[in-house]
Every structure is written in C-alpha cells, then in structure tokens.
Amino acid sequence: MAPQLAITLVFFYWPAGQALYQSMLRQDPFGLRTRFVWFANFRKVLADPAYLNSIQVTVVFSLATAIVAMVVALLLAVMAEKAVRGKGLYRTLLIWPYAVAPAIAGMLWLFLFNPSIGSLAYVLRSLGIAWDPLLNGTHAMILLVSAAAWKQISYNFLFFVAGLQAVPKTLIEAAAMDGAGETKRFWTIVFPLLAPTTFFLLVVNTVYALFDTFGIVHAVTGGGPGKATETLVYKVYNDGFVNLILGDSAAQSVILMAIVIALTAIQFRYVERKVHYG
C-alpha cells in the first residue's frame, strides 16, 4: 500500500494540486506574468456556450462508445463460445487491434479511412449515401464513435471471453434440462454471472471514452465540423496545449476531476451493490 500511495502522491496529487492552483491564475504560457484571480476562470468557463456544448457532446460520445464497444464485444464473445471449431483462431484474430498504439491508430484512420478517399467512404458513397463527416456533425460523430469503439472492442472481448469460460457448464446444462431456451439461459444465468466483469468494463469503458480518446478525436475529426465533436478532454487539450490558455484549461480539468469523482461515487453506490460477486 505504501509504495502506491507514495507514487500516487508524488506523481498525481502534487501535479493535481498544481493544476488546482493554476486554475485560479491568469498566466501567459511562459509563466512570466501571473495574476491570481480566484474563481474567475471557472465563472468564465461555465458561462461559455462552447463549454456547455462540449458537455453535451461528451455525454453522447461516451455513452455511444461504451455501449457500442461492450455490445459488440459481448456478442462476439458469446459467438466465440458457441463456435466450437476454430474458437482459438477467432479469438486470436479478434484481439489484434488492442495492440495498436492510439497514436498509430489515429494515423491509420487518417490515412486509410480518410473521409474523402478512404475505402470505407468509397463503399458508402457507392451505396448512394452522402457520407461527409467533414461538414456533417452527425456523420463526424458516427465516425468518431466507430474509431473509439473499434479500439476498445478487443479489450472488452478478452474480458467477456474469460468471464464466459468461468461460467460453470453444469449450471447451463442443468437449466437446459429444465427446458430453458438458449436466449433464456443467457439472460437468466450467464448474464448475471458476468455482472462483475460487466461492471468493471463499464467503469473502464466510460473512463476510456471520457479521457483516453483525445488522441482519436485529435486524429479523426479535430473537434470539427464546427464544434460538433469537441469533447471535454479534447477541449482541455486544445485550450491548454494548442491555444495555450492555461488558466481556462486548468479550470476545466478541475471541473472534469469533480465530474468524475461524482460519477464514480454514483456508480459505486448504486451499481456495485446490485452486481453479484462469485
């Protein structure tokens, strides 16, 4: 316990404290001129329509990504359990994308799935769909969710496969003898037993969609068109890292921290109680 606390203190709380302090400053990027402004940065950020828009974008994006990534992964995992022949091969082929670095994945999406000339876009257009994520906000969001979920499917898949294999076969066979159909068996026996896995993945996926996707947003849409895909984390990055407005950016990360703590508390209070352990 002690080592983790020590590392956490030095490499997390110290920087986080500095972020908190920074969020009450107006400062030029080089730190040459500094003014202490108390909560002016927070007031400014919260009054900014662009910020409120980005909250909305983030909610839609995170939910869609977490749901798509988990549903697809669960479906594939269940199918992989069923396909007796070639199970190992399927599994092996399905988990590859997990090993791709976000920085590389972004590059590949940009190069291979470029909205205007990529093969995906080409297929869609030949089907007569006016695919234009560069100017159509909804299309941009769909593209972004696909890219973000794509990256996460393998991870979820691995966990669901492990979870499914841990379900005692005797239980299922007993239910089958009782005359329970396949769908019913899944929802009444298998799914509840997967609950701890599902809960863990829910937390991880939400956090992933909230935070770890800025690289993908950066590469795939850059927050555009307009501000249609500007998520909270991308805004923190863009305001602080690109536009160098440090005070605003720090205030936003403090707000983010607060949101996340609240979300986690809710998840723990209401979701964890309902899930089964062992």
Partner: protein, 436 residues
C-alpha cells in the same frame, strides 16, 4: 519505489556529469518538429555543421508536431531546462514575441558573438515576418513556404481546358471548376488545404486588402479583424455556392485535401509549396500556377506571405552557448547550405544568394514549379497588408474561423453571417488574450 526514483535520478546525473566533462565542446540543443524527408535534412545539416568546426556540438532532437514542440519548449522553460534553439511554427510567432523575458532576439545573439547581421542578404518577405515593428530580427527563418496552385493536366485535357494555361484569377478558377464538373472530367472541380491561411491570410496579402487593423497585428496593440469586408464576403459566398453541388470540395482544416487531389478527384488545388514532393512522387501529370487573385482588387497581385517555422533562441544561456548558436546561424546562412535546404526539402531559401545560385544551376529549368512561390513573395515590396499576420492567439482565432467556415460550407449560414461571426468571436478572443 521512491528510493528507486531518486537512485535512478542520481545515476543519470552522474552519467550526465561524466559525459560533459569528457567533451570540451559546448553542446547546443535544437528542438525541432521536422518529420519525414525534412527530418533527414535537419540531421544532415547538424552533422555537417559539427564536422565543420570543433568548438560546438549541435544536438537536434525531435519533439513531435509543431504544437507539441512548442509545448515541450514552454514546459522545459518553466522547469528551467529550456533548449538553446526551439523551432516554432508561424502561428506561434505571436506567442514567442510576447514572451520577451524568455527569449533572446536573434539579432542580439549575432551581434553579441561579434557577427554582423545584414538583413539585405535575406528574402525581405520572410525576414519582415520574423522582425519586430522596429526592424529587430527576432528569430531565424528556417523553413518557409507559400501557397501556390496545382492542377491536374489530364483532367484539364478531358474538360477541354487549356493545359498550359492555369487559371489566374479566382473567377477563372470558379469557371474552370464548373467546366470540370459539368464535363464529367472529374467529380469535383476545386479543392484547397488550409482555408484560413490561403483564403483569408494570403487572400488579403495577395489582393492587398487589410486582414486586421494595426498592419494585421504586426504593429501590435489593439487588433481588430477586418475579414468581413465585402471582398472576403463575395469570395466566400462564391466558394459556398460551389460547395453546394460539389464543384468545390472541402477537405479539412489543414493539409488533408491533398489526398483528394492526389486521388484525381479534383482538377484544381491550392496548397503550400511545401506539399510539392508528394505530388511529384505520386507520378501525376500535374501543372503549377501562381496563387489566383481577385480581379476586383486594385493592387492584385501584391505578394504572398510565408508559412512554416523559424528558430527561436532562449534567454539566460551562457555566452559560450550564444556563440555556438550564432556560429550555427552563420553556417545555416551559407549559400551552399541554403541551396541544399531549398532543393532537398522544398522550402524556400532564406538568402538571395542561395536563390540566385539555384537559379544559375538550372534547377528551376528542371523544376519550374519551385520558383513560383519565390516569385510570388518577392515580386513587389510588401505593403502594410502583406507582411503577414500576427496575433498572440492566432491558433485560437484560426479555430474560430474554421468553425464558422465549416458551418457555412454545410449550408447552415451565409458567407456574410460566417465572417461576421468570425470577426465578433475572434475580436473577443483577441481582446481577452491581450488582457492576460
């Protein structure tokens, strides 16, 4: 774990000490953002400089994209670990200029080392952009480019357009684009990279109209954007109208549209002269022309402005280090080094001598397109409208402009509304940035 960290740190310090004492040479660090073939040029120039003398060792370090490099430099400065030389992209110029306590003007570095810096030896359009209003040179231009027009000769042929005569004005571009589309020669007539840089900043300079007050921000002080003047509105309304049926195709905020042009989807294309290499390598039957101008503008064509990056020197270094930096800049100004840089990387030479030497070598006869951006930038002496644009928060203002233009191209607002919004939001952002 904590102990391990300190131990490792101590070990690293020890090795650092031992290496510095082993070499009598002064190390000069140069953080850059050059990738691909340009990264090789950086390495080659550094190696050659190190071989050319024995007092200094230049150490180039790649620090990511332009914004990443700038941030690495800023973070390092705040931690007291700034490099000697930092490459900063054009839109970061305003940020660096505002940080007077952090940097040392290149002019001072040179004179401090006992060297004279003769500005008349350099391309005026480039040097002017990196100088203070009083003419003091602040940073050393490393890589500069300017937007030009590319066109696909095969598509021109199919559309019945003159293959050897690219459109010269925007009206001619619109007409040619429509012809390409209606004749079925290609699915789109025209596309462009960097709308903000090409269609706002360079459009203003090339047509000699004001982009913002205070000489586009170069004279400092309170700056207000002027990009909702009628000439801009007419230009963007034309673009928005062409976008409706796909005659103009939007490719993205930066260089993404290059892929559309390379794929043969569009016949005409405006892009940085630095994008030349990919177009040559793709094997396309291409042609090159000057950036189009607006036939209604009186002074057009005036001159285009540079994009790219320059080298900034951080303050609070030792005299020995500044001497090394000055020696490197002097080396970088040498005609053969500039010639190599220009011909290998596709960026513009910064000295007139290098340009003349390249011309004499017959390079432009073999590569006619490579001279176009230089001619564009040096054709006329720059006016108050054409020295470039500078704001403390140019990246943010460009973001705002891109957002409004994207809404316009999606048909959600007219050009007038888009540019009015861009001006209002942009001015508010500038004002706030100046308050900081």
């Amino acid at each position: 774990m904590k102990f391990f960290g300190f131990a490792a740190g101590a070990a690293a310090t020890l090795t650092l000490l031992s290496t510095t004492s082993a070499f009598a040479v002064t190390q000069i660090s140069w953080w850059h953002a050059m990738t691909g073939a340009n990264a090789e040029v950086v390495d080659k120039i550094s190696k050659d400089f190190n071989a050319s003398q024995s007092d200094y060792e230049l150490v180039p370090v790649f620090k990511g994209t332009y914004p990443e490099t700038l941030n690495a430099g800023i973070a390092a400065f705040r931690a007291g670990q700034a490099p000697d030389i930092l490459q900063v992209f054009d839109v970061g110029t305003g940020v660096m200029m505002a940080a007077e306590g952090a940097i040392k003007p290149v002019a001072e570095v040179m004179t401090g080392a006992g060297m004279t810096f003769d500005k008349s030896q350099y391309l005026p359009g480039i040097v002017g952009y990196y100088s203070k209003p009083d003419g003091t040179m602040l940073s050393f231009p490393y890589n500069s480019s300017s937007p030009i027009l590319y066109y696909n000769k095969d598509i021109f042929q199919k559309a019945g357009l003159d293959v050897n005569n690219p459109p010269k004005t925007w009206n001619e571009v619109w007409e040619a684009a429509k012809k390409i589309k209606t004749s079925g020669a290609a699915s789109c007539g025209y596309t462009s990279t960097w709308l903000t840089w090409i269609h706002l900043e360079n459009f203003a300079a090339w047509n000699d109209v004001s982009w913002a007050t205070q000489q586009n921000g170069l004279a400092g002080g309170d700056v207000e954007l002027k990009i909702n003047a009628p000439i801009f509105v007419n230009h963007f309304q034309a673009l928005a109208d062409l976008a409706k049926d796909g005659t103009f195709k939007y490719g993205g905020r930066t260089s993404e549209a290059k892929q559309i042009f390379l794929a043969g989807e569009c016949g005409i294309f405006t892009e940085s002269s630095g994008g030349f290499g990919d177009i040559v390598k793709s094997g396309m039957n291409y042609g090159i022309g000057q950036l189009p101008y607006d036939s209604d503008a009186k002074g057009a064509p005036q001159n285009t402005t540079p994009g790219g990056a320059s080298l900034w020197v951080f303050g609070a270094k030792s005299d020995e280090q500044y001497k090394g930096v000055a020696a490197f800049f002097a080396y970088l100004s040498k005609t053969d080094v500039q010639e190599y840089l220009h011909q290998k990387s596709g960026y513009l030479p910064v000295t007139l001598a290098a340009y003349e030497a390249t011309k004499k070598s017959g390079f432009y006869d073999k590569n006619p397109g490579r001279e176009t951006p230089i001619l564009q930038m040096t054709g006329k002496a720059p006016t108050d409208n054409s020295k470039g644009v500078r704001l403390p928060n140019l990246p943010q203002v460009r973001d705002i402009q891109n957002e409004e233009l994207e809404k316009m191209l999606a048909g959600q607002q007219t050009a007038q509304q888009a540019l009015d919004n861009a001006v209002t939001r942009g001015n508010a952002a500038i004002k706030e940035a100046l308050e900081n």
